[in-house]
């Protein structure tokens, strides 16, 4: 009975996946699809990861459209559904849409949790819940180095350790007196802030989520950090505060209840019942002082990598993300891979300053699928099937992908549909791969099709073509209806592909 309820007892497995949020579930599904035996362990009591707790105000930032120009079970529908995990079986596709409550196309937190639990249940993703990863070490095994994962249940040994533990460890700044503040993660029920003066440190989405959610309770709200806030509307990307949280900006412009300050926080001091926040403005260096009843640090989260840095895993940035290759493998400790939101650690090309969406489900779900395939090939020797592409279908195939492929739309300039050209001219479909790998890690002749944004509002397809070692970039025109299957696009792409196809056999 215990084996059914609590699978994967401590022991040796080819792969151990840690985490049961969307990243862990997607990777487990994809590994099974590739035929790779693995164990999944999680400290949580059920599926869902951070969505079991956050966002605090119970409404997601990512949407799912129940009605869209594509069937819910189709690949094309994924472009309109940022929240469901990926599966081949039609009864596992697009699960989020049926769980919406009709009040918003942004699912509630419980609806997202239900979506992930439903996927885990229906796809029969086995997870050993209640098993906490505690320490990690390496040892030499019969087939090379393996990892020993010490958990609350015992030791696991594996050739590949895949971590999908989120970026969920609260991070506090080192400001003097910061102990008087509490972190976003410890925000209480909103009604307990009734009538209080709230000071929020941080101008990311979590800061403005709090400012929006507490507006009806707080007597005043101050949002403060050294740099000016950017909105996604200004950056014309997902960088910056999302459109759902712009109300505090309007309240700030109108001088009604919200103040948005660009200042560094010098110190927090208890003065009677209140907290005095001393500030220095970043524009002119002037000192300021704000009195508040509550100070909340919406200063982000770090990656809970436990003792991996001691094992040699290099990390960077305020979030302590691991330094990884384009296939999300630690660049300093081979064999440790990352999935889920941690996969944002591989930045890709950041073309025109637009980052990938790997920090969110709609981006990293594709990374997880690619990672499983990469492990199958590179670690377990399972060869991929790369179907032959008829040369006279190539242009249409690429433009169809540019117009409809959800991987290219959600991971712009990050993932690409790659077609390789062999010496005899045979074209093969290598599938969806990281663009950085196609450009820098592959040497064969190829075309890599992407969709890109110019950071000014333009969206357009780009074909990267390598022929005889020379790489060229071919941006195709924007199209107002975003369907790139036009005669003009066909002509331009065919011309660009001319050299790649030059040696291809006719027909």
């Amino acid at each position: 009975m215990d084996a059914v309820e609590r699978p994967f007892p401590p022991g040796t497995y080819p792969v151990v996946v840690v985490g049961s949020g969307p990243g862990g579930l997607q990777l487990s599904y994809a590994l099974r699809h590739e035929g790779i035996e693995h164990a999944v362990i999680s400290a949580d009591e059920g599926a869902g990861g951070m969505f079991r707790k956050w966002p605090f105000f119970q409404r997601l930032l990512s949407w799912t459209k129940p009605y869209a120009p594509a069937e819910r079970t189709s690949r094309e529908y994924q472009r309109y559904d940022w929240n469901s995990l990926l599966a081949d079986e039609s009864d596992l596709c697009g699960l989020q849409a049926d769980l919406l409550d009709g009040t918003s196309y942004f699912p509630s937190r419980p609806a997202m949790q239900a979506n992930l639990e439903s996927f885990a249940d229906r796809a029969r993703i086995a997870v050993r819940y209640g098993t906490r990863w505690e320490r990690t070490r390496r040892e030499d095994g019969p087939d090379g180095t393996r990892f020993v994962v010490e958990t609350s249940d015992g030791e696991y040994r594996c050739r590949v350790l895949a971590l999908a533990v989120g970026v969920a460890q609260p991070s506090m700044p080192a400001t003097p007196g910061i102990e008087l503040a509490h972190h976003y993660a410890d925000t209480r029920d909103a009604s307990t802030y009734a009538g209080k003066r709230i000071f929020i440190i941080g101008k990311q989405n979590s800061g403005f989520e709090l400012a929006s959610g507490l507006a009806q309770w707080a007597s005043s709200i101050t949002v403060c950090s050294p740099s000016p806030a950017k909105t996604s509307i200004q950056t014309k990307s997902l960088v910056g505060v999302r459109a759902r949280y712009v109300q505090p900006f309007e309240d700030g412009f109108l001088g009604l209840g919200v103040r948005i300050l660009d200042a560094s926080i010098t110190s927090l001091t208890q003065v009677g019942e209140a907290i005095r926040v001393d500030l220095r403005r970043t524009d002119n260096g002037e000192e300021l002082c704000v009195e508040a009843d509550e100070v909340i640090a919406a200063t982000g989260f770090t990656c809970p990598l436990q003792d991996l840095p001691d094992l040699g895993v290099a990390t960077f940035g305020a979030a302590k993300l691991p330094v990884v290759t384009p296939f999300w493998e630690s660049s300093t400790v081979p064999g440790i891979f990352f999935a889920g939101t941690i996969s944002q650690a591989a930045p890709g090309l950041r073309k025109h300053g637009v980052p990938a969406n790997s920090g969110a489900v709609h981006g990293h779900r594709y990374n997880g699928r690619i990672l499983a395939r990469h492990l199958a090939e590179s670690v377990f020797g399972i060869e991929r099937d790369c179907p032959i592409v008829a040369p006279d279908t190539l242009v249409d195939l690429l433009l169809r992908e540019a117009s409809f492929a959800p991987e290219l739309w959600h991971q712009k300039a990050y993932l690409a549909r790659v077609i390789t050209s062999e010496r005899d001219g045979t074209l093969r479909d290598a599938g969806i791969l990281p663009l950085a790998h196609a450009l820098d890690g592959m040497t064969e002749d190829l075309v890599a099709m992407t969709v890109e944004m110019d950071g000014k509002g333009g969206i357009y397809p780009v074909a990267y073509i390598r022929r005889g070692g020379a790489l060229s970039e071919h941006a195709l025109p924007e199209e107002p209806l975003l369907d790139f299957q036009t005669a003009a696009h066909r002509d331009q792409l065919a011309q660009a592909l001319d050299r790649l196809l030059a040696v291809a056999p006719a027909g």
Binding site: P226, S227, A263, R350, K351, H352, G353, P355
Partner: protein, 140 residues
Amino acid sequence: MATREELADTLAGFAMFADLGSPQLLSVAGLFEETVFPEGERILRQGLTGSGYYVILEGTADVRIDGTTRGTLHRGDFFGEVSILLDEPPTADIVATTTLRCIVMGPAGVKPFLLAHPTVMFRMLQAQARRLRNANRWRS
């Protein structure tokens, strides 16, 4: 590494940001994102559009034109700004020769950043003038 405060401390030691006070440095630190590249990875690609403006915090990178190394960049050096200022693809590959820790700003942010921080613009101009002088010396 690195909180915003740590990043501001690092920037304070670089010539380009030497004229900024501490609250300004904190603000500037928040305008960039930290990013890291493993050894051997390309950061800028010769001839490909859409690069960023990078400042090296740690590590080294080679400047390669048509596969030939023409120079090495170190801590405090910056790259990518020429292609943004001219709105042209980079004329060289930048390849990490160690683990390379940088801060990066997208092209849309560069003009407003330089206009808002004229002392940084002046320091950048000085650095460019030095590069031009050295290139002219090399040619003559």
